[in-house]
Point group: C2
Chain length 321, copies 2
Protein backbone atom coordinates (compact mmCIF):
# COMPACT_ATOMS: atom_id res chain seq x y z
CA UNK A 1 0.00 0.00 0.00
CA UNK A 2 1.00 3.66 -0.32
CA UNK A 3 1.99 5.43 2.86
CA UNK A 4 3.69 8.62 3.96
CA UNK A 5 6.29 8.05 6.64
CA UNK A 6 8.03 10.60 8.86
CA UNK A 7 11.47 8.97 9.04
CA UNK A 8 12.99 11.67 11.16
CA UNK A 9 12.21 15.32 11.91
CA UNK A 10 11.90 17.20 8.61
CA UNK A 11 12.01 14.07 6.44
CA UNK A 12 8.63 12.84 5.19
CA UNK A 13 8.86 10.02 2.58
CA UNK A 14 6.25 8.56 0.23
CA UNK A 15 6.73 4.77 0.42
CA UNK A 16 5.26 1.38 -0.39
CA UNK A 17 4.67 -0.98 2.53
CA UNK A 18 2.60 -3.98 3.57
CA UNK A 19 -1.02 -3.55 4.67
CA UNK A 20 -0.89 -3.63 8.52
CA UNK A 21 -2.07 -6.77 10.33
CA UNK A 22 -4.92 -6.48 12.85
CA UNK A 23 -3.82 -7.15 16.44
CA UNK A 24 -6.14 -8.45 19.16
CA UNK A 25 -9.43 -6.51 19.16
CA UNK A 26 -8.27 -4.51 16.15
CA UNK A 27 -9.70 -4.07 12.69
CA UNK A 28 -8.14 -2.86 9.43
CA UNK A 29 -9.70 0.38 8.20
CA UNK A 30 -9.40 1.42 4.55
CA UNK A 31 -8.82 5.16 4.85
CA UNK A 32 -11.08 7.31 2.66
CA UNK A 33 -10.23 10.72 4.18
CA UNK A 34 -7.59 12.04 6.56
CA UNK A 35 -7.43 15.76 7.33
CA UNK A 36 -4.21 17.51 8.26
CA UNK A 37 -3.69 19.24 11.57
CA UNK A 38 -1.21 21.88 12.60
CA UNK A 39 0.22 19.31 15.02
CA UNK A 40 1.09 17.12 11.99
CA UNK A 41 3.03 20.08 10.59
CA UNK A 42 4.71 20.69 13.96
CA UNK A 43 5.69 17.03 14.26
CA UNK A 44 7.19 17.12 10.77
CA UNK A 45 9.14 20.29 11.55
CA UNK A 46 10.25 19.78 15.13
CA UNK A 47 8.78 16.63 16.72
CA UNK A 48 6.29 16.35 19.57
CA UNK A 49 6.18 15.02 23.14
CA UNK A 50 4.15 11.90 22.24
CA UNK A 51 5.71 11.19 18.81
CA UNK A 52 7.66 7.92 18.32
CA UNK A 53 9.67 7.70 15.05
CA UNK A 54 9.56 6.45 12.34
CA UNK A 55 5.84 7.09 12.02
CA UNK A 56 2.93 7.30 9.58
CA UNK A 57 1.24 10.53 10.74
CA UNK A 58 -2.50 11.33 10.54
CA UNK A 59 -5.04 11.26 13.38
CA UNK A 60 -8.16 12.80 11.77
CA UNK A 61 -9.37 9.66 10.02
CA UNK A 62 -12.50 8.54 8.19
CA UNK A 63 -12.67 5.16 6.42
CA UNK A 64 -14.51 1.94 5.72
CA UNK A 65 -14.11 -1.68 6.75
CA UNK A 66 -15.75 -3.02 3.62
CA UNK A 67 -15.29 -1.16 0.34
CA UNK A 68 -18.37 0.85 -0.61
CA UNK A 69 -20.09 0.20 2.74
CA UNK A 70 -20.72 2.27 5.88
CA UNK A 71 -18.12 4.88 6.91
CA UNK A 72 -16.54 5.19 10.33
CA UNK A 73 -14.49 7.84 12.02
CA UNK A 74 -11.71 6.66 14.30
CA UNK A 75 -11.09 7.86 17.85
CA UNK A 76 -7.29 8.05 17.59
CA UNK A 77 -6.54 7.16 21.21
CA UNK A 78 -6.37 3.80 22.86
CA UNK A 79 -6.52 3.69 26.64
CA UNK A 80 -6.20 0.92 29.24
CA UNK A 81 -9.87 1.09 30.28
CA UNK A 82 -9.08 0.13 33.87
CA UNK A 83 -7.32 3.06 35.50
CA UNK A 84 -8.93 5.78 37.54
CA UNK A 85 -8.90 8.26 34.62
CA UNK A 86 -10.51 5.75 32.21
CA UNK A 87 -13.18 4.84 34.76
CA UNK A 88 -13.99 8.53 35.26
CA UNK A 89 -14.56 8.94 31.48
CA UNK A 90 -11.31 10.86 31.03
CA UNK A 91 -9.56 8.22 28.95
CA UNK A 92 -7.60 11.01 27.21
CA UNK A 93 -5.65 11.29 30.49
CA UNK A 94 -4.89 7.54 30.72
CA UNK A 95 -1.24 6.98 31.59
CA UNK A 96 -1.05 4.18 29.00
CA UNK A 97 -2.53 6.24 26.17
CA UNK A 98 -1.29 5.35 22.66
CA UNK A 99 -2.40 7.64 19.83
CA UNK A 100 -2.67 6.81 16.12
CA UNK A 101 -0.28 9.05 14.20
CA UNK A 102 1.79 9.63 17.37
CA UNK A 103 2.68 6.32 19.08
CA UNK A 104 1.21 4.07 16.38
CA UNK A 105 0.90 4.41 12.59
CA UNK A 106 -1.93 6.73 11.55
CA UNK A 107 -4.12 7.66 8.62
CA UNK A 108 -1.71 9.01 6.01
CA UNK A 109 -1.70 5.55 4.41
CA UNK A 110 -4.22 3.49 2.48
CA UNK A 111 -4.92 1.27 5.50
CA UNK A 112 -4.65 1.69 9.26
CA UNK A 113 -5.05 -0.81 12.11
CA UNK A 114 -7.39 0.53 14.81
CA UNK A 115 -9.05 -0.90 17.94
CA UNK A 116 -12.58 -2.09 17.08
CA UNK A 117 -13.89 -0.07 20.02
CA UNK A 118 -12.47 3.17 18.53
CA UNK A 119 -14.70 3.10 15.45
CA UNK A 120 -17.73 5.40 15.43
CA UNK A 121 -20.30 5.05 12.61
CA UNK A 122 -20.80 8.13 10.44
CA UNK A 123 -24.40 9.17 9.64
CA UNK A 124 -25.21 8.35 5.98
CA UNK A 125 -25.87 11.99 5.07
CA UNK A 126 -22.45 13.22 6.29
CA UNK A 127 -19.68 13.17 3.66
CA UNK A 128 -16.29 11.72 4.67
CA UNK A 129 -14.34 14.95 4.11
CA UNK A 130 -16.52 16.65 6.75
CA UNK A 131 -16.74 13.60 9.05
CA UNK A 132 -12.95 13.39 9.49
CA UNK A 133 -13.10 16.88 11.07
CA UNK A 134 -14.92 15.31 14.03
CA UNK A 135 -11.52 14.79 15.69
CA UNK A 136 -10.41 18.46 15.93
CA UNK A 137 -14.01 19.50 16.65
CA UNK A 138 -14.22 17.01 19.53
CA UNK A 139 -11.03 18.48 21.02
CA UNK A 140 -12.83 21.84 21.18
CA UNK A 141 -15.85 20.09 22.75
CA UNK A 142 -13.46 18.77 25.41
CA UNK A 143 -12.35 22.38 26.04
CA UNK A 144 -15.97 23.55 26.38
CA UNK A 145 -16.73 20.73 28.79
CA UNK A 146 -13.63 21.49 30.87
CA UNK A 147 -14.67 25.17 31.00
CA UNK A 148 -18.27 24.15 31.75
CA UNK A 149 -19.69 26.50 29.07
CA UNK A 150 -23.44 27.04 29.58
CA UNK A 151 -26.19 28.41 27.34
CA UNK A 152 -26.28 32.21 27.26
CA UNK A 153 -22.63 32.71 28.18
CA UNK A 154 -20.22 34.93 26.24
CA UNK A 155 -17.18 32.97 25.07
CA UNK A 156 -14.10 34.64 23.63
CA UNK A 157 -11.81 32.57 21.41
CA UNK A 158 -8.28 33.73 20.64
CA UNK A 159 -7.23 32.56 17.16
CA UNK A 160 -9.28 32.58 13.95
CA UNK A 161 -7.70 29.45 12.50
CA UNK A 162 -9.91 26.49 11.56
CA UNK A 163 -9.83 25.03 15.09
CA UNK A 164 -10.74 28.38 16.68
CA UNK A 165 -13.67 28.62 14.29
CA UNK A 166 -14.76 25.06 15.01
CA UNK A 167 -14.65 25.91 18.72
CA UNK A 168 -16.92 28.87 17.93
CA UNK A 169 -19.38 26.54 16.19
CA UNK A 170 -19.35 24.20 19.18
CA UNK A 171 -20.08 27.21 21.45
CA UNK A 172 -22.99 28.22 19.21
CA UNK A 173 -24.30 24.65 19.12
CA UNK A 174 -24.86 24.74 22.85
CA UNK A 175 -26.65 28.06 22.95
CA UNK A 176 -23.74 30.23 24.09
CA UNK A 177 -22.33 33.25 22.23
CA UNK A 178 -18.95 32.90 20.48
CA UNK A 179 -16.62 35.83 19.80
CA UNK A 180 -13.46 35.36 17.75
CA UNK A 181 -10.39 37.55 17.99
CA UNK A 182 -7.09 37.36 16.11
CA UNK A 183 -4.25 39.89 15.99
CA UNK A 184 -3.62 38.76 12.39
CA UNK A 185 -6.15 40.56 10.23
CA UNK A 186 -5.33 38.36 7.23
CA UNK A 187 -6.59 35.30 9.09
CA UNK A 188 -9.88 37.06 9.84
CA UNK A 189 -10.26 38.06 6.17
CA UNK A 190 -9.55 34.49 5.04
CA UNK A 191 -12.71 33.21 6.76
CA UNK A 192 -15.15 36.03 6.06
CA UNK A 193 -17.49 33.59 4.26
CA UNK A 194 -17.65 31.41 7.33
CA UNK A 195 -18.20 34.38 9.64
CA UNK A 196 -20.99 35.78 7.43
CA UNK A 197 -22.78 32.48 7.18
CA UNK A 198 -22.56 31.62 10.89
CA UNK A 199 -23.01 35.13 12.28
CA UNK A 200 -19.84 34.66 14.35
CA UNK A 201 -18.04 38.00 14.51
CA UNK A 202 -14.27 38.04 14.25
CA UNK A 203 -12.43 41.14 15.44
CA UNK A 204 -8.80 42.21 15.85
CA UNK A 205 -9.53 43.44 19.38
CA UNK A 206 -11.90 41.82 21.88
CA UNK A 207 -14.90 44.15 22.35
CA UNK A 208 -16.99 43.00 25.34
CA UNK A 209 -14.84 43.33 28.47
CA UNK A 210 -16.42 40.68 30.70
CA UNK A 211 -16.39 37.24 29.13
CA UNK A 212 -17.61 34.17 31.00
CA UNK A 213 -15.09 31.95 29.25
CA UNK A 214 -11.93 32.58 27.22
CA UNK A 215 -10.29 29.84 25.12
CA UNK A 216 -6.93 30.10 23.35
CA UNK A 217 -6.73 28.47 19.92
CA UNK A 218 -3.43 30.32 19.51
CA UNK A 219 -0.08 29.47 21.13
CA UNK A 220 1.01 32.89 22.42
CA UNK A 221 1.30 33.41 26.19
CA UNK A 222 0.01 36.90 25.52
CA UNK A 223 -3.47 35.40 24.96
CA UNK A 224 -3.29 34.09 28.56
CA UNK A 225 -2.33 37.43 30.08
CA UNK A 226 -4.94 39.33 28.04
CA UNK A 227 -7.53 36.58 28.45
CA UNK A 228 -7.34 36.69 32.27
CA UNK A 229 -8.02 40.42 32.00
CA UNK A 230 -10.99 39.78 29.67
CA UNK A 231 -12.78 37.54 32.18
CA UNK A 232 -15.67 38.49 34.43
CA UNK A 233 -15.03 37.68 38.13
CA UNK A 234 -15.62 33.95 38.57
CA UNK A 235 -14.96 33.34 34.84
CA UNK A 236 -12.87 30.59 33.25
CA UNK A 237 -9.82 30.55 30.96
CA UNK A 238 -9.33 27.27 29.07
CA UNK A 239 -5.78 26.49 27.92
CA UNK A 240 -6.64 24.71 24.68
CA UNK A 241 -3.38 25.30 22.83
CA UNK A 242 -0.08 24.77 24.62
CA UNK A 243 2.09 27.89 24.83
CA UNK A 244 5.16 27.91 22.62
CA UNK A 245 6.80 31.05 24.10
CA UNK A 246 9.74 30.60 26.41
CA UNK A 247 8.32 33.54 28.40
CA UNK A 248 6.76 33.52 31.88
CA UNK A 249 3.66 34.88 33.65
CA UNK A 250 4.07 37.38 36.49
CA UNK A 251 2.64 36.78 39.97
CA UNK A 252 0.44 39.86 39.43
CA UNK A 253 -1.50 37.94 36.74
CA UNK A 254 -1.61 34.75 38.84
CA UNK A 255 -2.96 36.79 41.80
CA UNK A 256 -5.86 37.96 39.62
CA UNK A 257 -7.02 34.32 39.65
CA UNK A 258 -7.03 34.52 43.47
CA UNK A 259 -8.70 37.90 43.96
CA UNK A 260 -11.40 37.45 41.31
CA UNK A 261 -11.98 33.72 41.91
CA UNK A 262 -11.17 32.88 38.30
CA UNK A 263 -10.68 29.35 36.99
CA UNK A 264 -7.96 28.18 34.64
CA UNK A 265 -8.47 24.73 33.14
CA UNK A 266 -6.48 22.67 30.66
CA UNK A 267 -7.82 20.71 27.69
CA UNK A 268 -5.76 18.12 25.78
CA UNK A 269 -7.17 15.70 23.22
CA UNK A 270 -10.65 14.24 23.31
CA UNK A 271 -12.64 11.18 24.34
CA UNK A 272 -14.64 8.76 22.20
CA UNK A 273 -17.89 10.20 23.59
CA UNK A 274 -16.84 13.70 22.58
CA UNK A 275 -16.26 12.45 19.01
CA UNK A 276 -19.82 11.14 18.93
CA UNK A 277 -21.00 14.56 20.07
CA UNK A 278 -18.89 16.16 17.32
CA UNK A 279 -20.71 14.15 14.64
CA UNK A 280 -24.03 15.61 15.80
CA UNK A 281 -22.67 19.16 15.47
CA UNK A 282 -21.07 18.41 12.09
CA UNK A 283 -24.41 17.13 10.78
CA UNK A 284 -26.14 20.32 11.90
CA UNK A 285 -23.50 22.64 10.45
CA UNK A 286 -22.07 20.63 7.56
CA UNK A 287 -22.44 23.45 5.01
CA UNK A 288 -20.68 25.87 7.37
CA UNK A 289 -17.86 23.43 8.15
CA UNK A 290 -17.27 22.84 4.43
CA UNK A 291 -16.21 26.49 4.23
CA UNK A 292 -13.26 25.58 6.49
CA UNK A 293 -11.88 23.08 3.94
CA UNK A 294 -9.27 24.85 1.86
CA UNK A 295 -8.56 21.94 -0.45
CA UNK A 296 -8.81 18.23 -1.19
CA UNK A 297 -5.40 16.72 -1.96
CA UNK A 298 -3.70 13.38 -2.53
CA UNK A 299 -0.93 11.80 -0.43
CA UNK A 300 1.77 13.05 -2.81
CA UNK A 301 0.80 16.69 -2.12
CA UNK A 302 1.01 16.58 1.69
CA UNK A 303 4.67 17.69 1.94
CA UNK A 304 3.97 20.76 -0.16
CA UNK A 305 1.14 22.10 2.03
CA UNK A 306 2.72 21.51 5.47
CA UNK A 307 4.78 24.75 5.52
CA UNK A 308 1.63 26.79 4.85
CA UNK A 309 -0.26 24.94 7.62
CA UNK A 310 2.63 25.46 10.03
CA UNK A 311 2.66 29.18 9.28
CA UNK A 312 -1.06 29.42 10.13
CA UNK A 313 -1.86 30.56 6.60
CA UNK A 314 -4.12 27.64 5.68
CA UNK A 315 -7.54 26.30 6.60
CA UNK A 316 -8.09 22.52 6.54
CA UNK A 317 -6.61 20.24 3.87
CA UNK A 318 -8.25 16.85 3.47
CA UNK A 319 -6.25 13.99 1.97
CA UNK A 320 -8.48 11.78 -0.18
CA UNK A 321 -7.72 8.17 -1.14
Amino acid sequence: MNLLQLEKTGSLKLKQGPVPKAGDDEVIVKVTHCSLCRTDAKMWKSGQRDLVLPRVLGHEICGVIEEGKKSFIVWPGSACGYCRQCKAGRENLCGKMKILGFHKDGGLAEYVAAPKSSLIPVPDDLPGDVACLAEPLSCTINALEMANVSAGENVLIYGAGPVGLMAALAVKAQGAYPFITDINKARLTMTENFQDRTGIAGTVKASVPDFDVVINAAPSLDTFVKGIDNLVSGGCFCIFSGFTDKDSVSSVVINEIHYRQLKVVGAYGCTRRQMEKALIILRKYKDEVKLLIEGHIVLEQVSSVLPKILAGRALKYVVEF
Copy 2:
Protein backbone atom coordinates in the same frame (compact mmCIF):
# COMPACT_ATOMS: atom_id res chain seq x y z
CA MET B 1 -16.22 53.54 73.81
CA ASN B 2 -12.69 52.13 73.53
CA LEU B 3 -11.43 51.46 70.01
CA LEU B 4 -8.19 50.71 68.24
CA GLN B 5 -7.70 52.80 65.12
CA LEU B 6 -5.18 52.35 62.32
CA GLU B 7 -4.51 56.01 61.56
CA LYS B 8 -1.96 55.32 58.86
CA THR B 9 0.27 52.42 57.93
CA GLY B 10 2.27 51.37 60.99
CA SER B 11 0.37 53.59 63.40
CA LEU B 12 -2.27 51.87 65.51
CA LYS B 13 -3.78 54.04 68.30
CA LEU B 14 -5.92 53.17 71.29
CA LYS B 15 -8.65 55.84 71.41
CA GLN B 16 -11.97 56.88 72.88
CA GLY B 17 -14.79 57.51 70.42
CA PRO B 18 -18.59 57.65 70.19
CA VAL B 19 -20.59 54.41 69.88
CA PRO B 20 -21.42 54.12 66.14
CA LYS B 21 -24.96 54.94 64.99
CA ALA B 22 -26.93 52.27 63.14
CA GLY B 23 -27.59 53.13 59.50
CA ASP B 24 -30.58 51.82 57.50
CA ASP B 25 -30.99 48.07 58.03
CA GLU B 26 -28.08 48.08 60.46
CA VAL B 27 -27.81 47.05 64.07
CA ILE B 28 -25.25 47.89 66.77
CA VAL B 29 -23.35 44.83 67.95
CA LYS B 30 -21.57 44.84 71.31
CA VAL B 31 -18.37 42.96 70.50
CA THR B 32 -17.52 40.11 72.88
CA HIS B 33 -14.69 38.52 70.87
CA CYS B 34 -12.65 39.51 67.83
CA SER B 35 -9.82 37.25 66.64
CA LEU B 36 -6.78 38.61 64.85
CA CYS B 37 -5.86 37.60 61.33
CA ARG B 38 -2.55 37.80 59.50
CA THR B 39 -4.26 40.22 57.13
CA ASP B 40 -4.82 42.58 60.10
CA ALA B 41 -1.08 42.44 60.71
CA LYS B 42 -0.34 43.03 57.01
CA MET B 43 -2.71 46.01 56.92
CA TRP B 44 -1.00 47.49 59.96
CA LYS B 45 2.45 46.97 58.43
CA SER B 46 1.92 47.77 54.76
CA GLY B 47 -1.74 48.39 53.89
CA GLN B 48 -4.04 46.30 51.70
CA ARG B 49 -5.92 46.64 48.39
CA ASP B 50 -9.35 47.08 50.04
CA LEU B 51 -8.26 49.10 53.11
CA VAL B 52 -9.55 52.66 53.51
CA LEU B 53 -7.85 54.73 56.26
CA PRO B 54 -8.31 55.72 59.06
CA ARG B 55 -9.90 52.45 60.13
CA VAL B 56 -10.90 50.30 63.09
CA LEU B 57 -9.60 46.87 61.99
CA GLY B 58 -11.11 43.48 62.92
CA HIS B 59 -13.28 41.24 60.73
CA GLU B 60 -13.53 38.03 62.81
CA ILE B 61 -16.30 39.19 65.12
CA CYS B 62 -18.61 37.64 67.70
CA GLY B 63 -20.96 39.76 69.79
CA VAL B 64 -24.40 40.38 71.24
CA ILE B 65 -27.22 42.80 70.54
CA GLU B 66 -28.56 42.68 74.09
CA GLU B 67 -26.13 42.27 76.98
CA GLY B 68 -26.13 38.71 78.35
CA LYS B 69 -28.38 37.43 75.55
CA LYS B 70 -27.80 35.31 72.41
CA SER B 71 -24.47 35.63 70.57
CA PHE B 72 -24.05 36.30 66.87
CA ILE B 73 -21.13 36.09 64.49
CA VAL B 74 -20.95 38.75 61.79
CA TRP B 75 -20.42 38.10 58.08
CA PRO B 76 -18.00 41.01 57.49
CA GLY B 77 -19.07 41.72 53.90
CA SER B 78 -21.96 43.76 52.65
CA ALA B 79 -22.96 43.30 49.02
CA CYS B 80 -25.52 44.97 46.73
CA GLY B 81 -27.75 41.89 46.51
CA TYR B 82 -28.84 42.69 42.97
CA CYS B 83 -25.86 42.11 40.66
CA ARG B 84 -25.13 38.96 38.74
CA GLN B 85 -22.54 37.77 41.31
CA CYS B 86 -24.90 38.31 44.27
CA LYS B 87 -27.73 36.52 42.48
CA ALA B 88 -25.44 33.56 41.78
CA GLY B 89 -24.63 33.27 45.50
CA ARG B 90 -21.12 34.65 45.03
CA GLU B 91 -21.70 37.86 46.95
CA ASN B 92 -18.00 37.89 47.92
CA LEU B 93 -17.36 38.90 44.27
CA CYS B 94 -19.90 41.75 44.28
CA GLY B 95 -18.39 44.85 42.70
CA LYS B 96 -19.89 47.01 45.46
CA MET B 97 -18.53 44.88 48.32
CA LYS B 98 -17.74 46.77 51.54
CA ILE B 99 -15.98 44.82 54.28
CA LEU B 100 -15.96 45.51 58.04
CA GLY B 101 -12.41 46.23 59.13
CA PHE B 102 -11.43 47.15 55.54
CA HIS B 103 -13.88 49.68 54.02
CA LYS B 104 -15.90 50.19 57.22
CA ASP B 105 -15.00 50.16 60.93
CA GLY B 106 -14.59 46.64 62.31
CA GLY B 107 -14.51 44.67 65.52
CA LEU B 108 -11.47 46.04 67.39
CA ALA B 109 -13.82 48.34 69.33
CA GLU B 110 -16.49 47.85 71.96
CA TYR B 111 -19.28 48.31 69.44
CA VAL B 112 -19.60 47.86 65.69
CA ALA B 113 -22.43 48.77 63.27
CA ALA B 114 -23.34 45.82 61.02
CA PRO B 115 -26.11 45.06 58.51
CA LYS B 116 -28.91 43.13 60.25
CA SER B 117 -28.73 40.54 57.48
CA SER B 118 -25.07 39.83 58.25
CA LEU B 119 -25.74 38.46 61.72
CA ILE B 120 -25.69 34.69 62.17
CA PRO B 121 -26.86 33.20 65.50
CA VAL B 122 -24.26 31.16 67.38
CA PRO B 123 -25.36 27.79 68.84
CA ASP B 124 -25.68 28.06 72.65
CA ASP B 125 -23.01 25.43 73.28
CA LEU B 126 -20.33 27.20 71.21
CA PRO B 127 -18.17 29.68 73.17
CA GLY B 128 -17.57 33.10 71.61
CA ASP B 129 -13.78 32.71 71.37
CA VAL B 130 -14.29 29.68 69.09
CA ALA B 131 -17.31 31.13 67.26
CA CYS B 132 -15.36 34.16 66.00
CA LEU B 133 -13.07 31.74 64.14
CA ALA B 134 -16.01 30.96 61.83
CA GLU B 135 -14.79 33.74 59.53
CA PRO B 136 -11.33 32.34 58.66
CA LEU B 137 -12.77 28.81 58.63
CA SER B 138 -15.47 29.86 56.17
CA CYS B 139 -12.80 31.29 53.84
CA THR B 140 -11.25 27.80 53.72
CA ILE B 141 -14.72 26.35 53.05
CA ASN B 142 -14.95 28.72 50.11
CA ALA B 143 -11.63 27.30 48.86
CA LEU B 144 -12.89 23.73 49.19
CA GLU B 145 -16.07 24.61 47.34
CA MET B 146 -14.12 26.32 44.55
CA ALA B 147 -11.89 23.24 44.26
CA ASN B 148 -14.95 21.00 44.45
CA VAL B 149 -13.36 18.72 47.08
CA SER B 150 -15.23 15.41 47.35
CA ALA B 151 -15.28 12.66 49.98
CA GLY B 152 -12.35 10.26 49.66
CA GLU B 153 -10.03 12.71 47.90
CA ASN B 154 -6.45 13.43 49.03
CA VAL B 155 -5.95 17.13 49.71
CA LEU B 156 -2.52 18.68 50.24
CA ILE B 157 -2.32 21.98 52.11
CA TYR B 158 0.82 24.11 51.96
CA GLY B 159 1.28 26.04 55.20
CA ALA B 160 0.80 24.77 58.78
CA GLY B 161 -0.40 28.09 60.17
CA PRO B 162 -3.81 28.29 61.90
CA VAL B 163 -5.67 28.85 58.62
CA GLY B 164 -3.94 25.91 56.90
CA LEU B 165 -4.91 23.73 59.86
CA MET B 166 -8.50 25.00 59.80
CA ALA B 167 -8.58 24.14 56.08
CA ALA B 168 -7.43 20.64 57.01
CA LEU B 169 -10.30 20.35 59.51
CA ALA B 170 -12.77 21.47 56.85
CA VAL B 171 -11.34 18.82 54.48
CA LYS B 172 -11.75 16.17 57.18
CA ALA B 173 -15.29 17.35 57.95
CA GLN B 174 -16.38 16.45 54.45
CA GLY B 175 -14.86 12.99 54.38
CA ALA B 176 -11.72 13.81 52.40
CA TYR B 177 -8.11 13.26 53.58
CA PRO B 178 -6.03 16.31 54.55
CA PHE B 179 -2.21 16.38 54.39
CA ILE B 180 -0.27 19.37 55.72
CA THR B 181 3.17 20.40 54.57
CA ASP B 182 5.36 23.30 55.69
CA ILE B 183 9.00 23.99 54.91
CA ASN B 184 9.28 25.57 58.37
CA LYS B 185 9.68 22.71 60.83
CA ALA B 186 9.10 25.04 63.80
CA ARG B 187 5.56 25.72 62.59
CA LEU B 188 4.86 22.01 62.42
CA THR B 189 6.22 21.47 65.92
CA MET B 190 4.11 24.36 67.25
CA THR B 191 0.88 22.48 66.43
CA GLU B 192 1.82 18.93 67.35
CA ASN B 193 -1.05 18.81 69.87
CA PHE B 194 -3.53 19.69 67.16
CA GLN B 195 -2.05 17.17 64.74
CA ASP B 196 -2.08 14.38 67.33
CA ARG B 197 -5.65 15.04 68.35
CA THR B 198 -7.02 15.33 64.78
CA GLY B 199 -4.82 12.67 63.15
CA ILE B 200 -3.80 15.20 60.52
CA ALA B 201 -0.18 14.53 59.58
CA GLY B 202 2.10 17.48 59.01
CA THR B 203 5.34 16.89 57.11
CA VAL B 204 8.21 19.01 55.79
CA LYS B 205 7.95 17.31 52.40
CA ALA B 206 4.75 16.18 50.67
CA SER B 207 4.69 12.37 50.63
CA VAL B 208 1.92 11.11 48.32
CA PRO B 209 2.75 12.24 44.78
CA ASP B 210 -0.74 12.38 43.23
CA PHE B 211 -3.05 14.70 45.13
CA ASP B 212 -6.57 15.43 43.92
CA VAL B 213 -6.45 18.94 45.31
CA VAL B 214 -3.66 21.24 46.51
CA ILE B 215 -4.39 24.42 48.48
CA ASN B 216 -1.82 27.09 49.42
CA ALA B 217 -2.23 28.62 52.86
CA ALA B 218 1.23 30.10 52.34
CA PRO B 219 2.17 33.06 50.14
CA SER B 220 5.18 31.69 48.26
CA LEU B 221 4.92 31.18 44.48
CA ASP B 222 7.06 28.11 45.04
CA THR B 223 3.97 26.38 46.50
CA PHE B 224 2.26 26.93 43.14
CA VAL B 225 5.09 25.47 41.07
CA LYS B 226 5.52 22.48 43.43
CA GLY B 227 1.77 22.10 43.91
CA ILE B 228 1.13 21.77 40.15
CA ASP B 229 3.70 18.97 40.16
CA ASN B 230 1.98 17.29 43.15
CA LEU B 231 -1.37 17.01 41.35
CA VAL B 232 -2.82 13.92 39.70
CA SER B 233 -3.89 14.51 36.05
CA GLY B 234 -7.24 16.31 36.15
CA GLY B 235 -6.52 17.59 39.69
CA CYS B 236 -7.10 21.08 41.08
CA PHE B 237 -4.85 23.74 42.65
CA CYS B 238 -6.71 26.33 44.71
CA ILE B 239 -4.99 29.70 45.12
CA PHE B 240 -6.17 30.49 48.65
CA SER B 241 -3.40 32.88 49.66
CA GLY B 242 -2.29 35.58 47.25
CA PHE B 243 1.38 35.33 46.23
CA THR B 244 3.66 37.95 47.69
CA ASP B 245 6.75 37.15 45.55
CA LYS B 246 7.59 39.48 42.72
CA ASP B 247 8.63 36.37 40.80
CA SER B 248 6.95 34.77 37.76
CA VAL B 249 5.83 31.32 36.57
CA SER B 250 7.39 29.80 33.46
CA SER B 251 5.31 28.68 30.47
CA VAL B 252 6.56 25.13 31.14
CA VAL B 253 4.53 25.08 34.38
CA ILE B 254 1.51 26.73 32.72
CA ASN B 255 1.65 24.10 29.93
CA GLU B 256 1.35 21.34 32.56
CA ILE B 257 -2.16 22.68 33.18
CA HIS B 258 -2.85 22.13 29.46
CA TYR B 259 -1.29 18.69 28.99
CA ARG B 260 -2.64 17.16 32.20
CA GLN B 261 -6.02 18.91 32.15
CA LEU B 262 -5.42 20.45 35.56
CA LYS B 263 -7.61 23.14 37.11
CA VAL B 264 -6.41 26.24 38.91
CA VAL B 265 -9.08 28.13 40.86
CA GLY B 266 -8.99 31.22 43.04
CA ALA B 267 -10.65 31.70 46.44
CA TYR B 268 -11.06 35.10 48.11
CA GLY B 269 -13.21 35.79 51.17
CA CYS B 270 -16.40 33.94 51.99
CA THR B 271 -20.17 34.15 51.78
CA ARG B 272 -22.76 34.31 54.56
CA ARG B 273 -23.85 30.75 53.75
CA GLN B 274 -20.27 29.53 54.14
CA MET B 275 -20.11 31.12 57.60
CA GLU B 276 -23.20 29.16 58.61
CA LYS B 277 -21.47 26.01 57.39
CA ALA B 278 -18.38 26.98 59.42
CA LEU B 279 -20.43 27.08 62.63
CA ILE B 280 -21.47 23.46 62.08
CA ILE B 281 -17.83 22.38 61.71
CA LEU B 282 -16.75 24.46 64.73
CA ARG B 283 -19.41 22.78 66.86
CA LYS B 284 -18.17 19.35 65.82
CA TYR B 285 -14.49 20.16 66.38
CA LYS B 286 -14.59 22.81 69.10
CA ASP B 287 -12.04 21.08 71.33
CA GLU B 288 -9.63 20.70 68.40
CA VAL B 289 -10.09 24.31 67.30
CA LYS B 290 -9.38 25.56 70.83
CA LEU B 291 -5.86 24.16 70.38
CA LEU B 292 -5.36 26.78 67.66
CA ILE B 293 -5.95 29.65 70.09
CA GLU B 294 -2.58 30.86 71.35
CA GLY B 295 -3.94 33.44 73.74
CA HIS B 296 -6.83 35.61 74.91
CA ILE B 297 -5.84 39.28 75.10
CA VAL B 298 -7.34 42.73 75.62
CA LEU B 299 -7.42 45.64 73.15
CA GLU B 300 -4.35 47.22 74.75
CA GLN B 301 -2.24 44.15 73.88
CA VAL B 302 -3.03 43.98 70.15
CA SER B 303 -0.10 46.12 68.99
CA SER B 304 2.37 43.94 70.86
CA VAL B 305 1.28 40.65 69.20
CA LEU B 306 0.98 41.88 65.59
CA PRO B 307 4.71 41.50 64.74
CA LYS B 308 4.63 37.86 65.85
CA ILE B 309 1.47 37.21 63.79
CA LEU B 310 3.04 38.89 60.75
CA ALA B 311 6.13 36.71 61.08
CA GLY B 312 3.95 33.57 61.05
CA ARG B 313 5.17 32.63 64.52
CA ALA B 314 1.75 32.74 66.22
CA LEU B 315 -1.48 30.80 66.22
CA LYS B 316 -4.75 32.69 66.81
CA TYR B 317 -5.08 35.53 69.31
CA VAL B 318 -8.60 36.37 70.43
CA VAL B 319 -9.34 39.86 71.77
CA GLU B 320 -11.92 39.71 74.56
CA PHE B 321 -14.07 42.63 75.74
